[in-house]
């Protein structure tokens, strides 16, 4: 139990400091560790937890809460909640410290031309990582023609309309529950 909690804490605090461009970029690593390395869950659970976290309120990376919860679920519900708490704090506290301390000398650095260099350098990397995250989620969840169609329709809706993504996911869930059950 302690070992699992430590693994959760270590994994997410490392990922916290690597999440350049938001939490979703570390999804590939989270998947590698939670499914491949520690066997906390299978692919299907991982993807389902990710979708649940996307449809729930909060910052984009609440999936860490659910991964921590599932990792510690074998030890009972109180420990599962503790695991969820440890995962959430490990994911959000280290990066917050960084923002806090960096904020204090940010002004000195504001005029440096390197600021734009770093920004321009981070963007393609985070794009590649989000692409990898999309790949992992799609590989597990899109395996029939109807789900592929729904994915493409969802993509077009997000790109070309201002539809609320949570509303869209809810409607997609109801459609698939009605027709694909």
């Amino acid at each position: 139990m302690t070992k699992t909690l430590l693994q959760v804490a270590l994994l997410f605090s490392t990922l916290s400091l690597s999440a350049f461009g938001g939490g979703k970029v570390v999804l590939p690593s989270m998947h590698q560790s939670a499914v491949g390395e520690y066997h906390w869950m299978d692919d299907e659970d991982f993807v389902n937890l990710f979708s649940i976290s996307m449809a729930a309120p909060g910052p984009s990376m609440m999936v860490v809460t659910l991964v921590g919860l599932k990792a510690c679920l074998p030890y009972g519900i109180p420990i599962a909640i503790l695991g969820a708490l440890v995962a959430t704090l490990a994911m959000f506290v280290p990066s917050s410290f960084l923002v806090y301390f960096a904020g204090n000398w940010w002004d000195h650095w504001k005029e440096s031309p390197w600021r734009h260099s770093v920004m321009d350098a981070i963007l393609p990397i985070s794009t590649g990582l989000i692409l990898a995250a999309t790949w992992i989620i799609s590989k597990t969840s899109i395996h029939t023609v109807p789900t592929a169609i729904m994915g493409v329709v969802a993509l077009s809706l997000m790109l070309f309309t201002k539809l609320n993504p949570v509303l869209m996911m809810g409607v997609a869930g109801v459609i698939s529950w009605t027709f694909l059950k």
Partner: protein, 199 residues
């Protein structure tokens, strides 16, 4: 302080997915007038540059700006408490229900839509990221290193496969290359700009 906590409780409850930095700006700068744009925008630039979710970083930045370190902690805690409780509740509901035909069908639709949402984020990020062919190369390189590559033959040489690497490792490899490529370079001076050189 209570107002600060209240605002971030509200943001935590009403924020879904991404794209809510504009929403925070409207609340904090336009409505509450706690910060001016001159104070808010550098903070936004900072949190976009540093790792972590932008919303979380902004909560820390705004909290610190208004009430110091305690303000940061209060803003962060208020932002996360409601999402934490609701996410845990949904998680227990999921594991309690188990993989029945109902949950499978419901989640199949939600995950398919989530894939579409993620794919749209790739397009949005790519649009900002791609300034030249080298950026496309960086995107593919990052993707390949995270996913791992199969071995293949190239001009009768067997190229060994690359195992997948963790995200921190990939960043350590690709970031120096990317920063070097985007390093500050003297702009080609156009004739009319020569006169405006540094004093």
């Amino acid at each position: 302080m209570a107002e600060l906590a209240g605002l971030f409780l509200f943001i935590g409850l009403t924020s879904f997915g991404g794209g809510i930095t504009a929403y925070i700006r409207r609340l904090v700068v336009s409505q509450k007038r706690w910060l001016t744009d001159e104070e808010f925008l550098p903070g936004l630039g900072l949190v976009q540059l540093l790792p972590g979710a932008n919303v979380v970083g902004l909560a820390v930045y705004i909290g610190n700006h208004l009430k110091g370190p305690l303000g940061s902690a209060v803003a962060l805690g208020s932002l996360l408490v409601c999402p934490f409780i609701s996410t845990c509740a949904l998680g227990f509901l999921y594991f309690h229900a188990g993989k029945t035909a109902d949950t499978k069908a419901l989640l199949a639709g939600i995950t398919a839509a989530a894939c579409g949402l993620m794919a749209s984020m790739v397009f949005e990020a790519g649009e900002k990221a791609i300034k030249g062919a080298f950026d496309i190369f960086l995107i593919i390189l990052t993707f390949a290193l995270v996913r791992g590559t199969p071995s293949f033959e190239l001009l009768n040489h067997k190229i060994p496969s690359i195992p997948h690497l963790s995200v921190p490792m990939v960043i350590l490899i690709v970031a120096p290359l990317a920063v070097w490529w985007h390093r500050p370079r003297p702009k080609k001076e156009l004739p009319e700009q020569i006169g405006e050189a540094k004093p």
